[in-house]
């Protein structure tokens, strides 16, 4: 897809090479990390550890895909972590309430819970999109505001206490289930990534998001409805965050306002940025973001297995993030000079 865009530019061949370089950069690093860790610690490729990595990477990848879409359109979504928490709490509360009202009707209970959770995502996404697209407030500030508000609502509903009362079947045969040997979250993440890759490459929405992020004025002149698409990106981002919240809830077995949070938000941005999404907008591919989410998760896992003090681990994350982007910037600059 970016091929089509860059090929249209005068320096098409150089763009192609750069893209090849960019694809090679992250997976190469990932392979290196996996190979190195496998050699150092046999525990690393134990089945339990691998499933653990995949589950956590999937949750992060889902959020990061949405985040990437918003950033490609030239925005920011600081509220994703809070949406994860709110969706978790609302899903659990709704299920508990429906289960009390219609005992035995498991399908209805689960459907209402999931719908309510995803509904939270839609609402927060619409508020974000409306404020950014219609009221023209900077995305950073809007999502900073909704982050605080959403987290507040989540805590208000629960008073910070975990919510129980979900049907067993939701936890046992969805959240903790494994099909084809893989946890549910991995399957969901794969579906989301495939859908998002398709949306980015093959749908008008995806193409327009690139156009808006690349050059708003050009997009306006070309007749792209900017507002609708920007609202769309924020809704997708929030709904995916809500989906993560629901998956976490099903896995843990209770709704908690402490899920997600600032950590998830910062990690999703880190994953997007390390995955080559440009904060200038217009550039970025979801599949690379997913790989970068996997990379970040494995990195954390590796640091744990190597007994690196958990307090020191953020330092590694920070250095790698800055280094990845600085490297990207240097390559871009050299390309610009050629």
């Amino acid at each position: 897809m970016s091929t089509a865009l860059t090929a249209a530019e005068p320096r098409g061949t150089i763009g192609l090479r750069a893209i090849a370089g960019r694809i090679g950069f992250l997976p190469g690093l990932l392979l290196l990390l996996v190979a190195g860790m496998s050699a150092v610690d046999p525990q690393f490729y134990g089945i339990i550890n691998i499933l653990n990595i995949l589950r956590n990477a999937s949750l992060l990848a889902i959020v990061a895909c949405g985040q990437a879409l918003v950033i490609v359109a030239g925005g920011f979504d600081l509220s994703v972590g809070a949406v994860v928490a709110l969706a978790s709490v609302v899903t659990a509360k709704t299920m508990a309430a429906t289960a009390a009202a219609f005992p035995g009707n498991v399908v209805l209970v689960i459907a209402s819970g999931v719908a309510a959770g995803l509904g939270c995502g839609v609402v927060v996404g619409l508020v974000n999109g409306f404020c950014v697209a219609k009221l023209k407030v900077s995305g950073f500030v809007v999502t900073l505001g909704t982050m605080s508000a959403t987290a507040g609502v989540g805590l208000m509903i629960t008073n910070g206490i975990p919510v129980y009362g979900m049907p067993d079947i939701f936890v046992k045969s969805f959240g903790r289930a494994q099909a084809f040997g893989l946890p549910t979250a991995v399957h969901v993440a794969l579906i989301v990534i495939i859908l998002m890759v398709f949306a980015q490459r093959r749908t008008l929405f995806g193409r327009y998001v690139y156009a808006i992020g690349g050059n708003v004025d050009a997009a306006v002149v070309s007749g792209v409805s900017i507002q609708r698409h920007i609202v769309g990106t924020y809704v997708v981002s929030s709904v995916l965050a809500a989906l993560t919240g629901i998956l976490l809830t099903a896995q843990v077995g209770s709704g908690q306002a402490s899920f997600g949070g600032d950590r998830m938000m910062l990690q999703s941005i880190a994953a997007a940025v390390i995955g080559g999404v440009s904060l200038r907008g217009g550039v970025g591919r979801v599949e690379l973001v997913a790989i970068s989410a996997l990379f970040l998760t494995i990195l954390g896992n590796a640091l744990n297995l190597l007994h690196v003090d958990s307090r020191l681990q953020p330092v590694f994350l920070g250095v790698i993030m800055v280094a990845a982007v600085a490297l990207d910037e240097l390559i871009r600059r050299r390309r610009g000079r050629v």
Partner: protein, 338 residues
């Protein structure tokens, strides 16, 4: 407050008087402050008691200092996400240096000097890192400071083992918290002094003025012969040094080095600056806007505390206020440019 806004809007349709329009718009926030104070006082008399007003002033002085630090970089179209962790790191470093110097039996003066130089040293180092990565390597401020956010958190928690650092000498707390000048608490005195100096720097020096040009049009600044990179580095150093000063004052208040002291400060400081009318698009704002925004947020949370509004509801209100504040500011900008 809403009546006030309405009357402002009504007056604003009268576009023949741009100057008076601007005056009215500039009066919105101070007027809202007064309305807010008296509104809360209607529920609880103690809001307007001299003890509480002094309390508000003292609380504001910390947030104002951090909002000023944030404003300096926002003027250049950047921001510093690492401000909060910098505060934590400086707090821990200062306390450790003082405890260490005191344990080896040095005199009070040496102990204080060790603490201050460790604190400012760490702060300036953090600012240098941010500035170099942003200005010389060309990394986006968001990514760069998100990186140093993680690094500073890692350093703060590693140095302190995640626990408060004891052993801060009494004289230190006396000097930066307990002390007073003509009955005015130390925190207020320091913030006012820093505010005056910073205002003079921003309005009267070449460095200060160049920040505004840099934020409005960095290419023009470069063409005009300003050493853009050097100025940017200096800006981030100034921001982190101010954060370090705030951290030292807060450490004096708690009497120990706290690895969690910074917490949500990065975003709070940005919110303070932005609510006061600093533009994230760069080039607009100053000491006045930072102080106003900090005062607004402090009065709001102080009033909500005294009227016993639930802490979680407060989060929702603060989130909404941030968005509304920026929205109003954007409307004001639009009017004045018409």
């Amino acid at each position: 407050m809403s009546d006030l806004e309405l009357s402002v809007m009504a007056k604003d349709t009268d576009r023949a008087k741009p100057l008076s329009d601007r005056c009215v718009w500039n009066a919105v926030l101070p007027a809202a402050l007064v309305v807010l104070l008296f509104g809360f006082a209607a529920f609880d008399r103690s809001v307007l008691s001299s003890a509480n007003l002094l309390n508000i002033a003292q609380q504001t002085s910390y947030l104002a200092l951090f909002a000023m630090a944030q404003t300096v970089v926002i003027l250049t179209r950047g921001f510093d996400l690492a401000l909060g962790p910098t505060v934590s790191m400086v707090s821990v470093g200062t306390a450790l240096a003082m405890a260490g110097a005191a344990a080896t039996g040095h005199e009070t003066g040496v102990v204080l000097l060790a603490g201050l130089s460790a604190g400012f040293g760490l702060g300036i180092a953090c600012g240098l890192f941010n500035g170099v990565v942003i200005a010389l390597l060309g990394v986006n401020p968001f990514v760069a400071t998100l990186g140093s956010y993680n690094i500073a958190i890692g350093i703060a928690t590693t140095l302190s083992s995640g626990r408060p650092v004891q052993g801060v000498p009494k004289i230190f707390s006396e000097l930066f918290y307990g002390g007073s000048l003509f009955g005015v608490p130390a925190a207020i005195v320091i913030t006012v002094a820093v505010g005056i100096v910073l205002h003079l720097i921003l309005s009267r020096t070449v460095f200060g003025r160049s920040l505004y040009i840099l934020g409005t049009n960095s290419r023009a600044a470069a063409v005009a012969g300003l050493p853009v990179k050097r100025i940017l580095v200096a800006t981030y150093v100034l921001c982190s040094a101010l954060a370090a000063l705030g951290a030292i004052m807060m450490t004096a208040r708690t009497g120990s080095g706290e690895p969690n002291l910074g917490g949500a400060l990065s975003l709070q400081a940005i919110a303070g600056a932005v609510v006061g009318g600093t533009s994230l698009a760069g080039g607009r704002g100053g000491v006045g806007t930072a102080v106003l925004g900090a005062l607004f947020i402090t009065i709001l949370s102080n009033g909500m505390n005294l009227t016993r509004i639930d802490g979680y509801v407060q989060m929702v209100v603060l989130g909404a206020i941030v968005i509304i504040g920026v929205l109003l500011d954007r409307l004001r900008l639009e009017r004045s440019s018409q």
